[in-house]
């Protein structure tokens, strides 16, 4: 494999005595769109700030395009950052916001004008060039922030939850827009989100973070279908995730036999709600609630294993709230987790 474009090597980031990110390793290739996925507070923003150079690592190295940039000043890294908060300059027009970096770089007038207009066009804001940021909607401000970074043609563009404040429709629109820009400009993008659907839809590769550490790196399919830890399985919606202790599933009140021989070495097992079958099987539970979802019915059950979520096709036999049912967690549909 060729040298990675961006490489974080045992990066540790701290705020005073608090360790926010610990010995983080990951790399990405040129032109790749990688999503950094993880729950609130896991260190995503901190990692971005360190890559951008706004924060000095306590330990470790950052390499970009074959160069160690760990100690390089933020304005000399060729890294763009789209802030979660947009961080537009309130005193400048949309046009001047986008032209800001080009002016600092003392780009010639004609080229500055051409590139600024091109960037505004790319995000569909040509007609808004003269407005102040305060006169734009959230989605439009978002796009100005994007244009302002893209116009600099950074080697690497960092996006910190850039779509989190948009409504569903705009979010989808911007998602498509981002993918197009990335293809068009060939910019490597590192995209922070805590929304797994967004990560799955957009990314070439996903890095799942938890509590300042990498949990799993893989393609969207890897992450979604083959999580390797209890944390990732929970995070991508398996709902029924159990640790394995001495060959049995760890339940709410002690171990419960899985009903089949658990593979040696598996530390956890997970099932999606759709894969839990009702009406037969080795486990017993009680229906605590049923919600009709149109195509299917979602059951919440209590059991010796703890709460179980099952989703069954609407045409299957219905189970009323309060009734006792048997259920199966089929071995064939189980995802084995190598880490607890």
């Amino acid at each position: 494999m060729s040298d990675p474009f961006l490489e974080l090597d045992a990066l540790t980031l701290t705020y005073g005595d608090t360790i926010a990110v610990e010995a983080l390793d990951f790399h990405m290739a040129a032109g790749e769109l990688v999503a950094l996925l993880g729950p609130s507070g896991c260190g995503k923003t901190t990692t971005m700030r360190a890559i951008a150079g706004l924060m000095r690592p306590a330990a470790g190295h950052i390499r970009l395009d074959g160069r160690d940039i760990t100690r390089v000043a933020p304005n000399r890294r060729g890294v763009g950052l789209v802030f979660q908060s947009y961080a537009l300059f309130p005193h400048l027009s949309v046009y001047e916001n986008v032209a800001f970096g080009l002016r600092i770089a003392r780009i010639r007038a004609e080229e500055l004008e051409r590139r600024t207009h091109a960037a505004l066009g790319a995000v569909g804001l040509t007609d808004f060039a003269g407005r102040a940021p305060a006169e734009l909607s959230g989605g439009q401000q978002q796009r100005v922030a994007l244009a302002r970074s893209i116009v600099m043609e950074p080697k690497l563009l960092l996006l910190d939850e850039p779509l989190s404040n948009l409504d569903a429709r705009l979010r989808l629109e911007m998602r498509t827009e981002l993918a197009r820009l990335q293809r068009e400009f060939g910019i490597a993008m590192l995209y922070v989100t805590h929304d797994q659907a967004e990560a799955l839809a957009l990314a070439d590769r996903i890095i799942v973070m938890n509590d300042g550490k990498v949990e799993q790196v893989g393609t969207p399919e890897d992450i979604y279908d083959r999580p390797t830890s209890v944390f990732v399985a929970d995070f991508v919606g398996f709902e029924n995730t159990f640790r394995v202790e001495r060959g049995a599933l760890s339940g709410a009140n002690g171990p419960v036999d899985a009903g089949f021989a658990v593979t040696e070495g598996a530390r956890g097992l997970a099932w999606r709600p759709q894969d839990v079958t009702l009406g037969q099987g080795p486990h017993r539970g009680r229906i605590e609630g049923a919600s009709y979802l149109g195509q299917s019915v979602e059951y919440l059950m209590s059991s010796p294993l703890g709460p179980i979520k099952a989703e069954r096709p609407a045409h299957e036999k219905r189970h009323a709230t309060g009734t006792e049912v048997t259920f199966d967690l089929p071995q064939a549909r189980a995802v084995e987790l190598a880490r607890g």
Binding site: A87, F89, F100
Partner: protein, 257 residues
């Protein structure tokens, strides 16, 4: 109840505006002494104000002092405010309290302390002492007013500017400064008016032939009891009013005080 409230309002307004009207009328008197009601109306004392040489000198001094001391206070105060708002300065609370002290401590004490412990031991010139005294007096206002507008400004726009290629100082000049411009103007006006109206500190720091306008007016009154002093007071009040109203119109000054 309603009537009582309205009556109270009228009384308060009378207290606030009454003296101003009385002074103005007294200054327009045609008579020889400071008295109310005025002895006929004329502009002779208003004109006389501009003929008194010591008033011209002290007005010039107060103007220079007000502008100069406020500028220096801002040059020192803006970086201080920036550091207090943006960084985890050790002992920031203590510094903040220290900075409010001159606003709370009576000017008489500040003036006496400066005279006794700075001017006399160092043999400092009177004019320089006045400058130092007023600068010290104004720094708290400069810090507090600029800090207030910095607090309302997001910090991340500076980071954004840096990532677009600006240096740290460049980011401050291009992004932060334009956005706190109004706060700085407000601080300037508040500082200038404070310095211009200041008596207690200046009283201690004046010497032969060097007096600020308000101090000069006090001295003048000791020997002359004519309406020119009232005419001058009225003119000054109108000047302050003009400055404040303009500032309010342009900057919304009341947001900062």
């Amino acid at each position: 109840m309603r009537h009582a409230g309205r009556a109270l309002l009228v009384v308060v307004m009378l207290f606030l505006v009454g003296p101003f009207i009385l002074i103005c009328l007294t200054g327009l008197s045609g008579g020889e002494t400071l008295a109310f009601p005025p002895d006929g109306l004329s502009l002779r004392w208003v004109i006389r104000v501009f003929e008194i040489e010591s008033f011209r000198d002290s007005f010039a001094l107060s103007l220079t002092l007000g502008i100069g001391a406020t500028l220096i206070a801002l040059i020192l105060g803006i970086p201080a405010a920036y550091a207090l708002v943006r960084y985890d300065v050790p002992g920031a609370d203590a510094i903040r309290n220290l900075l409010t002290a001159p606003i709370i401590v009576p000017g008489i004490i500040v003036g006496l302390a400066l005279l006794r412990h700075l001017v006399i031991p160092s043999g400092l010139g009177v004019t320089l002492a006045l400058f130092l005294g007023h600068t010290a007096l104004l720094i708290p206002y400069a810090v507090r007013v600029t800090a207030a507008s910095l607090q309302n400004l997001r910090a991340d726009i500076e980071d954004a500017a840096i990532l677009l290629g600006a240096s740290r100082i460049g980011a401050f000049v291009r992004v932060t400064l334009p956005n706190i411009k109004n706060g700085i103007m407000a601080a300037f006006i508040i500082g200038f008016i404070t310095s211009f109206n200041e008596v207690p500190v200046s009283l201690f720091l004046t010497g032969p032939g060097v007096a600020t306008l308000p101090v000069d007016m006090l001295l003048y009154m000791e020997y002359n009891y004519d309406p020119s002093i009232a005419a001058l007071s009225g003119l000054l009040a109108l000047m302050s009013l003009g400055v404040v109203l303009t500032a309010e119109r342009l900057l919304g000054l009341s947001r900062y005080v």
